[in-house]
Symmetry: C2
Subunit: 368 residues, 2 copies
Amino acid sequence: MSDREISENSPVEQSEVFSLAVDGMGGDGAPDVVVAGLAIAADRHPGMRVLLTGDEACLRPLLAKYPKAEAICTIWHTDAAIPMDMKPTAALRVRQSSMRLGMDAVASGRAKGVVSAGNSGAMLALAKIVVKTMPGISRPAMAAISPTVKGDVVMLDLGANVACDWRNLVEFAVMGEAFAKAVLGLPAPRIGLLNIGSEELKGDEKLRVASEALRESPLAAQFHGFIEGHDITAGTTDVVVTDGFTGNVALKTGEGALKMASSLLRQVFNRGIISKIGYLLVKPGLERMKEWLDPRRYNGAVFVGLNGVVVKSHGGTDAEGFAAAVDVAMDMVTHGFNDSIRERLTHMGALLSRQQAALEREPETTAS
Amino acid sequence: MSDREISENSPVEQSEVFSLAVDGMGGDGAPDVVVAGLAIAADRHPGMRVLLTGDEACLRPLLAKYPKAEAICTIWHTDAAIPMDMKPTAALRVRQSSMRLGMDAVASGRAKGVVSAGNSGAMLALAKIVVKTMPGISRPAMAAISPTVKGDVVMLDLGANVACDWRNLVEFAVMGEAFAKAVLGLPAPRIGLLNIGSEELKGDEKLRVASEALRESPLAAQFHGFIEGHDITAGTTDVVVTDGFTGNVALKTGEGALKMASSLLRQVFNRGIISKIGYLLVKPGLERMKEWLDPRRYNGAVFVGLNGVVVKSHGGTDAEGFAAAVDVAMDMVTHGFNDSIRERLTHMGALLSRQQAALEREPETTAS
């Protein structure tokens, strides 16, 4: 690719299909963290080819600093970028933003997925409009993996939809299951529906109907039923399905609790000379525990239910964290995440329609 | 009190007002844990007098084993008790259950509060029907305290109401503030409204209206605004207000995360002889941390918004935990928790009605 092509803002070579488009300008530490992250990820994904969108004048010298990233990246230049605090409606009007170009690349089939550490709201809005919702899915959701005592758990929705109906929840279960297969490599992930414990309240209508639908679906054998908040980190199931409000609060509450534990532990180890010696003796084990719980290892929330792989890195992550988000995107691209959802949906469409029809008939039945 | 009075199931001496009625038969470890817990609490609350409801034949020999409990307890005999797994509707039909007698004692003014480790759903249903909702409050809620890095935080609702409107949330704020004053002893507790971070979604209608109402209320100076899941353990505010579904999930998710941290830590300290020596060196600090996070210290969820103090102990707690629930009840009784809510409500009634009227007018305004 010649420099001339780039500065004319051409869509690069028409023939090449990239593994991923990467938003070079999204995130608190962009573009530095993005390029450094790509250099780390390059080692783990031989053959990965990246279409890097953003300001060439910034990106070019950075790529020169990271030869491993330079070797896999092609720049697609644009001056525009979406600020972290811009409203989604305003972001949609920025025509040639680095984030938008990444989405365009997926929509046109020039890249199989896109990764950005930019503005979440803007990203979801752009993904819905540019990459578009997958046929058969009512609403895309946000999914991510978290640590448990046993292994990792996929949780969704994490904030894309505040209010959900039973059908959304069933679709989340389908997408979460495909996610757990693609990214965690589980052959038959177990699915739980997040609920609360009080007997009186277990009958929340949408949860009850979603649970019934799942029990009659091809996912029945993998459906564990209702779970509670403490089951998330207990690893009771591999997938936790909930609405976007509850999921977002649960994710952040869990992270907060671990942060508190770590802050209290620091106080324990800093109590005096004897505690400090104790710390040195247990340090190797603590380091392994820290790695296990490292938020960077879990970086990379995925917008699922779109016609392409769209991965959101935490805006404040470092290069290691950004590389983890790239890992997630590559896992999804490589393991045919969307094909797996499509296949499942063809087997479930009839069931969902039946359930919907039954619910619509219900008031009449009661009245007669 | 003579044995004859008890066996005739009389309402004991008519003149005596008890600090608390205690359900002797509620909870997994009842009646043993209840009586042992009262013995612990007796030391901390000189002058406390308890009306202990339940099967005299079980309770009498237990009290003989715990003279400190025996010295403060009067038995109100009944054969009936509500099983832990009974549906609330069925529990309401059990006329003379030990839980019911405790509620009756509060309703008739014979006890200032009631504590039970029994069936939560039954307790909430009985409390609403027997103790009754406080005038000015739409719906009672469940509140409890949790640890943060800085101190303790009051969170509500924890499961009494799955769906809430803006007015419920404002009332929760009023009750949570009174709770933080009575139980945490804070002069001006700061209040946060739990929300999620995504810009796009911050506008959830009921949260927006509740936030506006609080900003115009006498609580304005103490209202911090919206907070997110991680703010709970960060101690950003002293009171966290949310609906019962989200609150229940957040509480249990946070507890689950701490349990995971503790389980991983155990693995770290058991890695080998050197780690075990390290453990011994940091043990005193760890013990203090453990005490800080001890779930028993936070036992005692309170049903707020009733005409009396109703405290729910965890069903599976031990004597120490049950004593903590008694502490909470005594704090609320002693510090005039309900008076504080009543006073606040008289200053807020007009504001709430205005807000309600404005919301009802809104569609017309838009239409014109």
